[in-house]
Structure formats: structure tokens, C-alpha cells
Amino acid sequence: MDDREILEELRELAPRKSPPVLKERILGAGRARAARIRARRRGRLLAAAAVLLLLGAIAWGPGGRENGPEPTRALAVAARSALLETEARKALLAARISRLERLASSLPGKSAHLKALEKLRRELDRLALPLSLPGKRKAEAEKKDTKKSWIPNENGGLRHV
């Protein structure tokens, strides 16, 4: 008997198969895993859609182009209300940044100004994503916006509103 004969004899035999119950258990686990993957991907798609919505609003919203494609403008309209509450703070921050930039370029004590500038820039970046504001911080921002303010009255003084 040589090697070839032994190999032929072995290959003619049918190896034992796994029991059906094992197959069911493993395939069941595989199905559950695949379902979790699909659910996670759906979640990511929704997050991406939210980002697109925001980008659309920034591109076509206040200060952006007026004549964008119809669907994009519709997105912008939907998202604009979410942006409005931060528009005022953004404008204020932009003005402060601009002023600090001028100061930083001309005055002594440059590094302190630059640090302040960096802080304000980070604040501005954060405000560029109003939808991600945590509930508590958002509520605080709204509260600050509704604070009473002073306006000139007819006598040349200030009136509390």
C-alpha cells in the first residue's frame, strides 16, 4: 500500500457533518449580529442627513446665496429657525474677534490677546453647530437672550424692556 492509495481511500469517505442544532445556534447569532450592524448603519445615515441639513442651512441661509436649488432652499428654510437663536451671539463674537485681531496685530501684550482670540474662535465654532447644543446649555442660551435690556426713551434716557 503506498501513499497515493491511502489518500484515495481517505478522500472517498464522507467526513462527519455538524449537527443541525449547532448550525441553527450559530446562524441565529449571525442573523442577530447582521441586524445590529444594519441598525447602526441606519443611525449613521440619519446623523449624516442632519449634518447635510445644517450645511444646507449655512450655505443657503441668512447671508448665503439667495437663489439656490429648490430642495436646498427648502432645507435651508427648515433649518433656519434652528440657527436664528445663535445668530446674534455669532455676530457679536465675530465683531469681538475682529477687534481683537486688530489689537493683537498692533498692541503690546500680543499673546494674551491671541489666547482670548483663540477662545472666542472656539466659541464661534461651537455655535456653528446649534443642533448639537446640549439641552441644558441651549436653555441657558435662550434664558440669556430673553434678559431685559435698555433702550433710549423719548427723554433721552434709557428705558427698561
Binding site: M1, D2, D3, I6, L7, E9, L10, R11, E12, L13, A14, P15, R16, K17, S18, P19, L22, K23, R25, I26, L27, A29, G30, R31, R33, A34, A35, I37, R38, R41
Partner: protein, 193 residues
């Protein structure tokens, strides 16, 4: 990699199935299991010579694949098949060590081959399955493993080495000794009836 990436008949390669499963296709996982489930079980049965331990080893290996799926890189360091057989081997040896035995008791050695085929020549096939299965089961574990992976999986010695954690030369020696011993056992049986 020397292993065939495609199965005969133009079936989808393992790496493609793994990627599809990573994207959420349960059919891809089913195809992978259909391709390797029985083969992994046979390998585990050969190692453990125990049906419950073989089942456990295969199940744990597949569950480990499911758990680490995100980190699995198809076509990376090695083939899916080599990874799977390595995982099955590792779980099988763990199970054997836990059970505190390295060989089954007399009479409880499960058959390695199907014996229940009906029709002409059934008796001869059954007898052949019993004799060859018995001879294969009596080989030392390392040699048995090398023979099973070479003969039934068609692995190269490099792949066998990857699975068993040894060099290709060692894998080749184990296979050679295994075949020599099988030949000796079968010839002795012929001589002595």
C-alpha cells in the same frame, strides 16, 4: 497567500463574504457558515474525539468571529479559513484541557466518517469508514491534525503551520509521520486480518 480565494464554480471569495457581512448581509454569513461549518466541525472532532467538545469549539470560534467582526480585516494577515481553523483549534485544546483528558475512554470514540450510507457497497463503505477512521483517530494529535488539514482541506504546509503555530517544515514532518503511521496500521491490519 497560497490558499485558494475562490471555491469551485465561481462562488464568492471568503474576503468578499466577510466584507458583505461587515456591511450587514446575513446571507453572507450564512454562505460562510455553509462553506466552513461542517469542515470546521470535522476538524474539531478529529482533534477532540468528542462530539460535545467539537460542537463547543466550533460554536466558540464562530462567536468569536462575530464578536470581533469590526476588527477583522479581510485579506489582511491571513485567510479567513486559516483564521477560523486556528480559532477552532485553540478552543478545542482549551476544552480538552478543561475537561482534563487528552484521549477518549475506550468505546466512546465517536466515528470520524459518515457510516450510514445505504445501497450497494454500503457494508464495505461502512467497514472502510470504521477502519480508516479508527486508524486516523489513533494517530498522535499533531499528526492527525496535519493529515486532516492536508488531505481534507487541501492546505499547504505553510497554512497548516499557521493554523498549528509551527513552521512549514514541522507541519510537513508531522504530515509525513502521520501518513507513514497510517500505512503501517493499515498494512498490519491486512496482515493480521
Amino acid at each position: 497567500m497560497e490558499s485558494p480565494r475562490k471555491t469551485p464554480g465561481g462562488a464568492r471569495p471568503d474576503e468578499e463574504l466577510v466584507r458583505a457581512f461587515q456591511a450587514g448581509s446575513e446571507e453572507a454569513f450564512q454562505a460562510l457558515f455553509e462553506r466552513y461549518g461542517d469542515r470546521a466541525y470535522f476538524f474539531a472532532l478529529g482533534l477532540t474525539r468528542s462530539e460535545p467538545l467539537a460542537e463547543e469549539a466550533v460554536q466558540e470560534a464562530f462567536l468569536s468571529f462575530l464578536k470581533g467582526l469590526d476588527r477583522f480585516r479581510p485579506g489582511g494577515a491571513g485567510s479567513f479559513r486559516a483564521w477560523l481553523f486556528r480559532a477552532v483549534r485553540s478552543r478545542a485544546l482549551d476544552a480538552l484541557a478543561r475537561e482534563g483528558r487528552l484521549a477518549p475512554l475506550p468505546g466512546e470514540d465517536p466515528p470520524l466518517f459518515e457510516e450510514g450510507r445505504a445501497g450497494p457497497g454500503a457494508l464495505e463503505t461502512k467497514e472502510k469508514a470504521r477502519i480508516l477512521g479508527g486508524a486516523l483517530a489513533s494517530l498522535p494529535r499533531d499528526q492527525r491534525e496535519a493529515v486532516v488539514l492536508k488531505v481534507f482541506e487541501g492546505m499547504t504546509f505553510r497554512e497548516i503551520g499557521e493554523v498549528a503555530g509551527v513552521s512549514p517544515n514541522t507541519a510537513s514532518s508531522r504530515y509525513r509521520y502521520g501518513i507513514e503511521k497510517l500505512k503501517f496500521l493499515l498494512e498490519r491490519r491486512v496482515r493480521h486480518g
